[in-house]
């Protein structure tokens, strides 16, 4: 299997505070990789550096190589907007725009120059189907997205991300704000999505990592302690700290 993202010797500072130390990881294509670890260990920070969302924060300094399909994404000639088109993101809190369901999903394609109505209709429908939301909203596409339930809003955000046809989907604790039923719907969805997309997902929920992911990376205090097949990490962890964490001895 190909590695779609490879990271080497990566360090990240917020001002003087070093949040990531010597990260090295290779993320396989069309699979689900879970990031686990205690709060504040740098999972979100690392996830956001994969599509340069950290650029929005002043005073962030990054060293090392982060390569997407063999190309260093922090090189000067990289177009950030096209990078984010390829590597989409779903946030912890559902954040639909205050516009109609349709316009939310069409936002990305319109951003990237698609104006043809028929073509947009098709993309919107496909994205909503992929996000398992089509049947629930097909009769009220013109309704304001903020009128949906939290779980629906999060699936809408997934649909919105899918509509630009990314290669990778980064998800930062996509179910932490949701009830158990919405959570399991999104988990099923994520497992279907890996046929077409590479998914990287932060989770605080150990069971979720086991249920959903193929690979797991364990972070601690800004370091990537261990990375491997999820089954291995949870049954035969190599590092003592990983073992302590997954058996609930700290964190």
């Amino acid at each position: 299997m190909n590695n779609i993202v490879t990271v080497k010797d990566m360090n990240l500072w917020y001002g003087d505070h070093q949040a990531l130390h010597d990260i090295k990881i290779e993320i396989p294509e069309k699979s689900i990789t879970a990031f686990i670890g205690p709060s504040g260990c740098g999972k979100s920070t690392f996830l956001k550096s994969l599509n340069r969302m950290n650029d929005l924060i002043p005073d962030v300094k990054i060293t090392g190589d982060i390569c997407y399909e063999g190309k260093d994404i922090y090189q000067k000639d990289v177009d950030v907007n096209s990078l984010r088109k390829e590597i989409g993101m779903v946030f912890q809190k559902p954040n639909p725009f205050p516009m109609s369901i349709y316009d939310n999903v069409a936002y990305g394609p319109r951003t990237h120059g698609i104006t043809n109505k028929a073509q947009l209709d098709e993309i919107v429908e496909q994205a909503l189907r992929d996000a398992a939301l089509w049947d629930e909203v097909k009769d009220r596409l013109k309704k304001n997205a903020l009128s949906m339930s939290g779980g629906q809003q999060q699936r809408l955000c997934i649909a919105r991300a899918l509509a630009v046809q990314p290669k990778i989907l980064l998800m930062d604790e996509p179910t932490s704000a949701l009830d158990p039923i919405s959570t399991s719907r999104i988990e099923e969805l994520v497992m279907q999505l890996k046929e077409k997309y590479t998914i990287v997902m932060v989770t605080h929920n150990m069971q979720q990592a086991v249920r959903v992911s193929d690979y797991t990376a364990f972070f601690l205090l800004g370091e990537l302690v261990e990375f491997g097949k999820t089954d291995d990490i949870f049954s035969v962890p190599k590092d003592k700290r990983t073992e302590d964490y997954i058996t609930g001895r700290f964190g």
């Binding site: 954040n95 725009f97 936002y107 951003t111």
Partner: protein, 285 residues
């Protein structure tokens, strides 16, 4: 026993405070109402169709305020057309682009200070900057009003830009939208209320302004079209009120204008409230 007397004391205290508050509220309301009624009673009988639709004429010895009404409209339009792009643009720059927090803070502080300066000082500066170069005219007045109202528009826009959740911006950037697209499609629509509120406040301020305009726009009552009007001296309603009352002793006309301004003020306040309520409701839903 102890508790009982204590609670009694407290109750009397509360009652007295409540009473005082009622007195304060009542006298404020009564004062406002008295003023409104007094002006309307003295003014409305003097308002006639003729007054509203003619120019003053020395031959017929009659006074009409149509030129003053038009001048007011011209100056409001000219001021808003100039101040809106400047104020909104500055607000967008400060909240969305500027990275130097210190400079932003200094500019915000300066804007706050500017809005507290007595308007006659703006008039003096406007006279030197504009009237001395382009002559005394409505445009010089409008430019002076632009300086006066720039902080207002900037601040109200900025305040509402700050209420646009950061998560909207992140969502849009995450989809590969460029900075300007993010601003145009998700940030600006969220600050329409601030812009409208700023406009309404500015219109109120322009209607009420006399000192700054006496210096810069003059007090002629000639009937002009828009372009001609802007390049000629002219009185707005408020300035005309001053001129008629103070220079000509025409108190009937002055009160007629006063009652028109009064009604407009009430309407503007009402509109500002309505806009704010409307958007507050939309935001919370």
């Amino acid at each position: 026993m102890l508790n009982e007397s204590l609670s009694k004391k407290r109750k009397t205290y509360e009652l007295v405070m409540k009473g005082l508050m009622y007195v304060a509220v009542f006298s404020t309301a009564a004062l406002a109402l008295f003023l409104l009624i007094y002006v309307l009673v003295k003014g409305i009988p003097n308002i006639s169709w003729e007054l509203l639709t003619t120019s003053p004429s020395y031959i017929s010895q009659k006074i009409g305020i149509l030129p003053d009404i038009l001048n007011t409209i011209y100056i409001v339009i000219a001021t808003l057309v100039i101040v809106l792009p400047l104020g909104v643009g500055a607000a967008i720059y400060l909240t969305e682009y500027a990275t130097n927090k210190k400079i932003v803070a200094i500019i915000e502080y300066a804007a706050e200070t500017l809005s507290g300066i007595p308007s006659i000082i703006y008039g003096l500066v406007g006279m030197l900057l504009f009237s001395n170069n382009m002559g005394t005219c409505l445009m010089a007045g409008a430019l002076t009003l632009v300086i006066m109202n720039l902080p207002t528009i900037m601040r109200t826009t900025q305040e509402s830009l700050k209420t646009v959740p950061q998560s909207y911006r992140e969502g849009a950037f995450g989809l590969g939208a460029g900075k300007w697209r993010v601003i145009r499609t998700v940030v600006l629509p969220g600050c329409v209320d601030g812009v409208i509120t700023g406009c309404i406040l500015s219109v109120g301020r322009i209607l009420g302004e006399s000192a700054a305009l006496l210096f810069t726009a003059g007090f002629a009552h000639a009937l002009n079209g828009f372009v001609q009007g802007l390049s000629s001296p002219g009185a707005t309603l408020t300035v005309a009120l001053y001129v008629y009352a103070k220079e000509q002793g025409e108190f009937g006309v002055a009160f007629a204008i006063a009652s028109i301004l009064m009604v407009l003020t009430v309407v503007i306040n009402f509109a500002a409230n309505l806009v704010q309520k409307h958007f507050a409701k939309r935001r919370s839903s």
